[in-house]
Symmetry: C2
Subunit: 206 residues, 2 copies
Protein backbone atom coordinates (compact mmCIF):
# COMPACT_ATOMS: atom_id res chain seq x y z
CA UNK A 1 0.00 0.00 0.00
CA UNK A 2 1.48 3.42 -0.96
CA UNK A 3 1.50 6.40 1.40
CA UNK A 4 -1.63 7.95 -0.05
CA UNK A 5 -3.64 4.71 0.17
CA UNK A 6 -2.33 4.25 3.73
CA UNK A 7 -3.59 7.73 4.70
CA UNK A 8 -7.04 7.00 3.21
CA UNK A 9 -7.15 3.70 5.04
CA UNK A 10 -6.28 5.38 8.35
CA UNK A 11 -8.99 8.02 7.85
CA UNK A 12 -11.55 5.35 6.91
CA UNK A 13 -10.58 3.23 9.94
CA UNK A 14 -11.11 6.13 12.34
CA UNK A 15 -14.40 7.06 10.63
CA UNK A 16 -15.95 3.57 10.63
CA UNK A 17 -14.94 2.91 14.24
CA UNK A 18 -16.43 6.21 15.39
CA UNK A 19 -19.69 5.79 13.45
CA UNK A 20 -20.13 2.12 14.43
CA UNK A 21 -19.56 2.95 18.07
CA UNK A 22 -22.02 5.86 18.00
CA UNK A 23 -24.81 4.52 15.75
CA UNK A 24 -24.26 0.76 15.39
CA UNK A 25 -22.76 -0.53 12.11
CA UNK A 26 -26.18 -1.48 10.69
CA UNK A 27 -27.08 2.26 10.68
CA UNK A 28 -23.85 3.30 8.94
CA UNK A 29 -23.73 3.86 5.16
CA UNK A 30 -20.81 4.07 2.74
CA UNK A 31 -21.77 7.74 2.18
CA UNK A 32 -21.61 8.61 5.88
CA UNK A 33 -18.20 6.89 6.15
CA UNK A 34 -16.92 8.90 3.16
CA UNK A 35 -18.19 12.15 4.70
CA UNK A 36 -16.74 11.44 8.15
CA UNK A 37 -13.38 10.46 6.63
CA UNK A 38 -13.33 13.38 4.19
CA UNK A 39 -12.82 11.17 1.12
CA UNK A 40 -14.82 10.35 -2.02
CA UNK A 41 -17.39 7.61 -1.84
CA UNK A 42 -15.48 5.73 -4.55
CA UNK A 43 -12.45 5.65 -2.23
CA UNK A 44 -14.51 3.83 0.40
CA UNK A 45 -15.52 1.20 -2.18
CA UNK A 46 -11.87 0.72 -3.11
CA UNK A 47 -11.32 -0.61 0.42
CA UNK A 48 -14.47 -2.61 1.18
CA UNK A 49 -17.83 -3.60 -0.32
CA UNK A 50 -19.90 -2.66 2.75
CA UNK A 51 -19.61 -0.81 6.08
CA UNK A 52 -19.61 -4.15 7.93
CA UNK A 53 -16.80 -5.49 5.75
CA UNK A 54 -14.76 -2.33 6.38
CA UNK A 55 -15.37 -2.57 10.14
CA UNK A 56 -14.40 -6.23 10.23
CA UNK A 57 -11.23 -5.42 8.27
CA UNK A 58 -10.27 -2.59 10.63
CA UNK A 59 -10.80 -4.69 13.76
CA UNK A 60 -8.95 -7.63 12.23
CA UNK A 61 -6.03 -5.35 11.33
CA UNK A 62 -5.73 -4.37 15.00
CA UNK A 63 -5.78 -8.03 16.05
CA UNK A 64 -3.23 -8.91 13.36
CA UNK A 65 -0.96 -6.15 14.69
CA UNK A 66 -1.18 -7.63 18.21
CA UNK A 67 -0.31 -11.07 16.85
CA UNK A 68 2.61 -9.72 14.78
CA UNK A 69 3.94 -7.81 17.79
CA UNK A 70 3.89 -10.70 20.26
CA UNK A 71 3.63 -14.05 18.50
CA UNK A 72 6.30 -13.59 15.82
CA UNK A 73 9.19 -15.99 16.61
CA UNK A 74 11.79 -14.14 18.67
CA UNK A 75 9.44 -11.36 19.77
CA UNK A 76 9.59 -12.57 23.37
CA UNK A 77 12.06 -14.73 25.33
CA UNK A 78 9.53 -17.55 25.86
CA UNK A 79 6.02 -18.77 25.04
CA UNK A 80 4.57 -17.82 28.44
CA UNK A 81 5.59 -14.20 27.96
CA UNK A 82 4.30 -14.10 24.39
CA UNK A 83 0.93 -15.63 25.38
CA UNK A 84 0.62 -13.27 28.38
CA UNK A 85 1.19 -10.12 26.30
CA UNK A 86 -1.08 -11.33 23.50
CA UNK A 87 -3.90 -12.17 25.91
CA UNK A 88 -3.76 -8.81 27.67
CA UNK A 89 -3.57 -6.79 24.44
CA UNK A 90 -6.51 -8.74 22.98
CA UNK A 91 -8.58 -8.09 26.13
CA UNK A 92 -7.67 -4.38 25.93
CA UNK A 93 -8.69 -4.34 22.25
CA UNK A 94 -12.06 -5.94 23.10
CA UNK A 95 -12.61 -3.53 25.99
CA UNK A 96 -11.72 -0.49 23.84
CA UNK A 97 -14.25 -1.57 21.20
CA UNK A 98 -16.84 -2.95 23.64
CA UNK A 99 -19.62 -0.76 22.24
CA UNK A 100 -19.04 -2.21 18.77
CA UNK A 101 -18.57 -5.85 19.77
CA UNK A 102 -21.45 -6.02 22.23
CA UNK A 103 -23.94 -3.82 20.37
CA UNK A 104 -26.79 -5.64 18.68
CA UNK A 105 -25.94 -8.89 20.41
CA UNK A 106 -27.28 -11.84 18.47
CA UNK A 107 -27.75 -9.79 15.30
CA UNK A 108 -26.21 -10.69 11.96
CA UNK A 109 -23.61 -7.94 12.50
CA UNK A 110 -22.65 -9.31 15.88
CA UNK A 111 -22.44 -12.85 14.45
CA UNK A 112 -20.08 -11.59 11.75
CA UNK A 113 -17.78 -9.91 14.30
CA UNK A 114 -17.85 -12.91 16.65
CA UNK A 115 -17.02 -15.19 13.73
CA UNK A 116 -14.06 -12.96 12.86
CA UNK A 117 -12.84 -13.00 16.49
CA UNK A 118 -13.22 -16.78 16.76
CA UNK A 119 -11.41 -17.42 13.46
CA UNK A 120 -8.61 -15.06 14.49
CA UNK A 121 -8.09 -16.69 17.90
CA UNK A 122 -8.27 -20.17 16.36
CA UNK A 123 -5.54 -19.25 13.88
CA UNK A 124 -3.33 -17.85 16.66
CA UNK A 125 -3.76 -20.99 18.77
CA UNK A 126 -3.08 -23.30 15.81
CA UNK A 127 0.09 -21.34 15.02
CA UNK A 128 1.27 -21.85 18.61
CA UNK A 129 0.54 -25.60 18.34
CA UNK A 130 2.14 -26.03 14.93
CA UNK A 131 5.33 -24.21 15.92
CA UNK A 132 5.63 -26.51 18.93
CA UNK A 133 5.38 -23.57 21.36
CA UNK A 134 2.37 -25.25 23.03
CA UNK A 135 1.39 -28.91 22.80
CA UNK A 136 -1.94 -30.23 24.13
CA UNK A 137 -1.71 -33.56 26.00
CA UNK A 138 -1.42 -36.62 23.80
CA UNK A 139 -4.57 -38.77 23.70
CA UNK A 140 -4.01 -42.46 22.82
CA UNK A 141 -5.77 -43.31 19.56
CA UNK A 142 -6.38 -39.69 18.60
CA UNK A 143 -4.82 -38.12 15.52
CA UNK A 144 -2.68 -35.17 16.65
CA UNK A 145 -3.93 -32.93 13.82
CA UNK A 146 -7.53 -33.43 14.92
CA UNK A 147 -6.48 -32.95 18.56
CA UNK A 148 -4.93 -29.58 17.66
CA UNK A 149 -7.95 -28.41 15.63
CA UNK A 150 -10.46 -29.41 18.32
CA UNK A 151 -8.35 -27.89 21.11
CA UNK A 152 -7.98 -24.64 19.13
CA UNK A 153 -11.74 -24.51 18.59
CA UNK A 154 -12.41 -25.10 22.29
CA UNK A 155 -9.99 -22.40 23.45
CA UNK A 156 -10.97 -19.89 20.73
CA UNK A 157 -14.75 -20.27 21.02
CA UNK A 158 -14.61 -20.42 24.82
CA UNK A 159 -12.55 -17.23 24.83
CA UNK A 160 -15.01 -15.40 22.57
CA UNK A 161 -17.89 -16.50 24.82
CA UNK A 162 -16.17 -15.33 28.00
CA UNK A 163 -15.16 -11.99 26.42
CA UNK A 164 -18.75 -11.53 25.25
CA UNK A 165 -19.98 -11.96 28.83
CA UNK A 166 -17.31 -9.50 30.03
CA UNK A 167 -18.24 -6.83 27.47
CA UNK A 168 -21.89 -7.09 28.52
CA UNK A 169 -20.89 -5.66 31.94
CA UNK A 170 -20.78 -1.87 32.33
CA UNK A 171 -17.55 0.13 31.86
CA UNK A 172 -15.10 0.71 33.44
CA UNK A 173 -14.24 -3.01 33.34
CA UNK A 174 -11.70 -4.56 35.68
CA UNK A 175 -9.08 -6.09 33.37
CA UNK A 176 -7.17 -7.73 36.23
CA UNK A 177 -10.24 -9.46 37.71
CA UNK A 178 -11.40 -10.73 34.32
CA UNK A 179 -7.91 -11.90 33.34
CA UNK A 180 -7.64 -13.80 36.65
CA UNK A 181 -10.96 -15.53 35.92
CA UNK A 182 -9.91 -16.28 32.34
CA UNK A 183 -6.81 -18.09 33.60
CA UNK A 184 -8.89 -20.52 35.70
CA UNK A 185 -11.21 -21.24 32.77
CA UNK A 186 -8.37 -22.40 30.52
CA UNK A 187 -7.03 -25.96 30.55
CA UNK A 188 -4.06 -26.57 32.89
CA UNK A 189 -1.59 -27.07 30.05
CA UNK A 190 -2.29 -23.57 28.67
CA UNK A 191 0.78 -21.45 29.53
CA UNK A 192 -0.82 -18.58 31.44
CA UNK A 193 -0.46 -18.00 35.17
CA UNK A 194 -2.68 -15.65 37.18
CA UNK A 195 0.25 -14.31 39.20
CA UNK A 196 2.26 -13.40 36.11
CA UNK A 197 -0.77 -11.86 34.40
CA UNK A 198 -1.52 -9.65 37.42
CA UNK A 199 2.15 -8.60 37.67
CA UNK A 200 2.11 -7.74 33.97
CA UNK A 201 -1.01 -5.58 34.32
CA UNK A 202 0.61 -3.76 37.27
CA UNK A 203 3.82 -3.27 35.26
CA UNK A 204 1.87 -1.98 32.25
CA UNK A 205 -0.15 0.38 34.50
CA UNK A 206 -3.47 -1.41 33.59
Amino acid sequence: MDARARRSRDKLSAAVLELAERDGIEAVSMVSIAQAAGVNRSTVYEHAASPLELLRMVLRDELDAIRDRHLTPGAHPDTRTAVRHTTLDVLRHADAHAAIYSRALGSAESTALHGMLSAHFRQSVLTLFQSGAITPPDIPGLDTCFRDVAAARFVADGTVGAIDAWLATPAPRDLAAFAALYVVLLPTWWPLSATQVLEQIAADGQ
Copy 2:
Protein backbone atom coordinates in the same frame (compact mmCIF):
# COMPACT_ATOMS: atom_id res chain seq x y z
CA MET B 1 -50.13 -32.25 25.00
CA ASP B 2 -52.87 -34.86 24.41
CA ALA B 3 -52.19 -38.30 22.92
CA ARG B 4 -53.18 -37.27 19.37
CA ALA B 5 -50.99 -34.16 19.40
CA ARG B 6 -48.16 -36.27 20.85
CA ARG B 7 -48.49 -38.75 17.97
CA SER B 8 -48.42 -35.93 15.38
CA ARG B 9 -45.37 -34.46 17.08
CA ASP B 10 -43.54 -37.81 17.01
CA LYS B 11 -44.33 -38.28 13.30
CA LEU B 12 -43.18 -34.71 12.52
CA SER B 13 -39.98 -35.21 14.53
CA ALA B 14 -39.06 -38.35 12.63
CA ALA B 15 -39.93 -36.66 9.30
CA VAL B 16 -37.96 -33.46 9.81
CA LEU B 17 -34.89 -35.33 11.12
CA GLU B 18 -34.94 -37.69 8.13
CA LEU B 19 -35.43 -34.92 5.54
CA ALA B 20 -32.87 -32.57 7.13
CA GLU B 21 -30.31 -35.36 7.24
CA ARG B 22 -30.91 -36.36 3.64
CA ASP B 23 -31.40 -32.98 1.92
CA GLY B 24 -30.23 -30.30 4.36
CA ILE B 25 -32.87 -28.28 6.22
CA GLU B 26 -32.65 -25.32 3.79
CA ALA B 27 -34.04 -27.63 1.05
CA VAL B 28 -36.92 -28.89 3.22
CA SER B 29 -40.42 -27.35 2.93
CA MET B 30 -43.44 -27.50 5.23
CA VAL B 31 -45.23 -29.46 2.47
CA SER B 32 -42.50 -32.12 2.25
CA ILE B 33 -42.55 -32.52 6.05
CA ALA B 34 -46.34 -32.96 6.01
CA GLN B 35 -46.07 -35.58 3.23
CA ALA B 36 -43.27 -37.52 4.92
CA ALA B 37 -45.14 -37.47 8.26
CA GLY B 38 -48.50 -38.33 6.68
CA VAL B 39 -50.28 -35.33 8.23
CA ASN B 40 -52.01 -32.20 6.90
CA ARG B 41 -49.89 -29.17 6.17
CA SER B 42 -51.92 -27.20 8.73
CA THR B 43 -50.81 -29.69 11.38
CA VAL B 44 -47.17 -28.85 10.66
CA TYR B 45 -47.92 -25.14 11.12
CA GLU B 46 -49.57 -25.91 14.48
CA HIS B 47 -46.15 -27.05 15.71
CA ALA B 48 -43.73 -24.61 14.10
CA ALA B 49 -43.56 -21.64 11.74
CA SER B 50 -40.77 -23.04 9.56
CA PRO B 51 -38.83 -26.27 8.91
CA LEU B 52 -35.80 -24.80 10.72
CA GLU B 53 -37.89 -23.93 13.78
CA LEU B 54 -39.34 -27.45 13.85
CA LEU B 55 -35.86 -28.99 13.53
CA ARG B 56 -34.47 -26.80 16.30
CA MET B 57 -37.42 -27.75 18.53
CA VAL B 58 -36.94 -31.48 17.89
CA LEU B 59 -33.20 -31.37 18.63
CA ARG B 60 -33.77 -29.23 21.73
CA ASP B 61 -36.40 -31.70 22.96
CA GLU B 62 -33.81 -34.48 22.80
CA LEU B 63 -31.29 -32.36 24.70
CA ASP B 64 -33.94 -31.41 27.28
CA ALA B 65 -34.70 -35.11 27.78
CA ILE B 66 -31.00 -35.81 28.44
CA ARG B 67 -30.90 -32.97 30.98
CA ASP B 68 -34.10 -34.15 32.70
CA ARG B 69 -32.78 -37.71 32.88
CA HIS B 70 -29.41 -36.88 34.41
CA LEU B 71 -29.36 -33.39 35.93
CA THR B 72 -32.62 -33.49 37.89
CA PRO B 73 -31.75 -33.41 41.62
CA GLY B 74 -31.60 -36.98 42.91
CA ALA B 75 -31.18 -38.56 39.48
CA HIS B 76 -27.62 -39.65 40.32
CA PRO B 77 -25.75 -40.18 43.60
CA ASP B 78 -23.31 -37.31 42.95
CA THR B 79 -22.44 -34.44 40.59
CA ARG B 80 -19.54 -36.30 38.94
CA THR B 81 -21.84 -39.15 37.89
CA ALA B 82 -24.54 -36.75 36.65
CA VAL B 83 -22.03 -34.70 34.62
CA ARG B 84 -20.41 -37.84 33.18
CA HIS B 85 -23.72 -39.29 31.97
CA THR B 86 -24.91 -35.94 30.61
CA THR B 87 -21.66 -35.38 28.71
CA LEU B 88 -21.67 -38.81 27.09
CA ASP B 89 -25.35 -38.66 26.11
CA VAL B 90 -24.88 -35.18 24.62
CA LEU B 91 -21.88 -36.40 22.58
CA ARG B 92 -23.94 -39.40 21.39
CA HIS B 93 -26.79 -37.04 20.43
CA ALA B 94 -24.37 -34.84 18.42
CA ASP B 95 -22.81 -37.89 16.74
CA ALA B 96 -26.22 -39.35 15.86
CA HIS B 97 -27.24 -36.05 14.22
CA ALA B 98 -23.82 -35.21 12.81
CA ALA B 99 -25.12 -34.84 9.25
CA ILE B 100 -27.61 -32.20 10.44
CA TYR B 101 -25.28 -30.30 12.78
CA SER B 102 -22.30 -30.22 10.46
CA ARG B 103 -24.09 -29.77 7.14
CA ALA B 104 -23.88 -26.31 5.62
CA LEU B 105 -21.24 -25.22 8.10
CA GLY B 106 -21.20 -21.47 8.48
CA SER B 107 -24.66 -21.07 6.93
CA ALA B 108 -27.56 -19.31 8.64
CA GLU B 109 -29.07 -22.73 9.43
CA SER B 110 -25.88 -23.94 11.05
CA THR B 111 -25.63 -20.69 13.06
CA ALA B 112 -29.17 -21.22 14.34
CA LEU B 113 -28.41 -24.79 15.46
CA HIS B 114 -25.10 -23.81 17.03
CA GLY B 115 -26.82 -20.98 18.88
CA MET B 116 -29.41 -23.44 20.20
CA LEU B 117 -26.66 -25.86 21.33
CA SER B 118 -24.67 -23.10 23.00
CA ALA B 119 -27.73 -21.69 24.81
CA HIS B 120 -28.71 -25.18 25.98
CA PHE B 121 -25.25 -26.03 27.34
CA ARG B 122 -24.99 -22.60 29.00
CA GLN B 123 -28.29 -23.15 30.77
CA SER B 124 -27.21 -26.60 31.98
CA VAL B 125 -23.90 -25.24 33.31
CA LEU B 126 -25.60 -22.29 35.04
CA THR B 127 -28.07 -24.69 36.68
CA LEU B 128 -25.15 -26.72 38.04
CA PHE B 129 -23.53 -23.53 39.39
CA GLN B 130 -26.71 -22.14 40.89
CA SER B 131 -27.60 -25.37 42.67
CA GLY B 132 -24.11 -25.40 44.21
CA ALA B 133 -23.26 -28.71 42.51
CA ILE B 134 -20.23 -27.06 40.87
CA THR B 135 -18.53 -23.83 41.96
CA PRO B 136 -15.84 -22.14 39.84
CA PRO B 137 -12.86 -20.80 41.84
CA ASP B 138 -13.47 -17.53 43.64
CA ILE B 139 -11.70 -14.53 42.10
CA PRO B 140 -11.01 -11.62 44.50
CA GLY B 141 -12.86 -8.50 43.39
CA LEU B 142 -15.10 -10.37 40.95
CA ASP B 143 -18.87 -10.59 41.36
CA THR B 144 -19.83 -14.27 41.65
CA CYS B 145 -22.85 -13.86 39.34
CA PHE B 146 -20.61 -12.49 36.58
CA ARG B 147 -18.05 -15.21 37.29
CA ASP B 148 -20.75 -17.88 36.81
CA VAL B 149 -22.08 -16.34 33.58
CA ALA B 150 -18.63 -15.92 32.04
CA ALA B 151 -17.54 -19.43 33.10
CA ALA B 152 -20.76 -20.90 31.67
CA ARG B 153 -20.16 -19.08 28.38
CA PHE B 154 -16.56 -20.32 28.20
CA VAL B 155 -17.47 -23.95 28.86
CA ALA B 156 -20.60 -23.91 26.65
CA ASP B 157 -19.07 -22.14 23.64
CA GLY B 158 -15.81 -24.09 23.94
CA THR B 159 -17.81 -27.32 23.99
CA VAL B 160 -19.80 -26.39 20.88
CA GLY B 161 -16.56 -25.51 19.08
CA ALA B 162 -14.88 -28.80 20.00
CA ILE B 163 -17.98 -30.83 19.05
CA ASP B 164 -18.12 -28.98 15.73
CA ALA B 165 -14.53 -30.01 15.01
CA TRP B 166 -15.37 -33.60 16.00
CA LEU B 167 -18.44 -33.80 13.74
CA ALA B 168 -16.36 -32.57 10.81
CA THR B 169 -14.37 -35.83 10.97
CA PRO B 170 -15.74 -38.85 9.09
CA ALA B 171 -17.96 -41.48 10.76
CA PRO B 172 -17.60 -43.80 12.59
CA ARG B 173 -16.30 -41.40 15.27
CA ASP B 174 -14.38 -42.65 18.29
CA LEU B 175 -16.46 -41.46 21.26
CA ALA B 176 -13.88 -42.60 23.82
CA ALA B 177 -10.96 -40.78 22.17
CA PHE B 178 -12.93 -37.56 21.76
CA ALA B 179 -14.27 -37.72 25.33
CA ALA B 180 -10.71 -38.21 26.64
CA LEU B 181 -9.60 -35.10 24.71
CA TYR B 182 -12.61 -33.11 25.92
CA VAL B 183 -11.66 -33.83 29.54
CA VAL B 184 -8.21 -32.25 29.10
CA LEU B 185 -9.70 -29.17 27.42
CA LEU B 186 -11.94 -28.38 30.40
CA PRO B 187 -10.76 -26.38 33.41
CA THR B 188 -9.37 -28.47 36.31
CA TRP B 189 -12.29 -27.70 38.61
CA TRP B 190 -14.80 -29.23 36.14
CA PRO B 191 -15.90 -32.58 37.66
CA LEU B 192 -15.06 -34.96 34.84
CA SER B 193 -12.25 -37.51 34.90
CA ALA B 194 -10.92 -39.31 31.83
CA THR B 195 -10.64 -42.64 33.67
CA GLN B 196 -14.27 -42.56 34.83
CA VAL B 197 -15.50 -41.45 31.40
CA LEU B 198 -13.68 -44.31 29.67
CA GLU B 199 -15.00 -46.83 32.24
CA GLN B 200 -18.51 -45.48 31.66
CA ILE B 201 -18.25 -45.87 27.89
CA ALA B 202 -17.02 -49.47 28.37
CA ALA B 203 -19.89 -50.16 30.79
CA ASP B 204 -22.44 -48.66 28.38
CA GLY B 205 -20.99 -50.69 25.47
CA GLN B 206 -19.98 -47.43 23.57
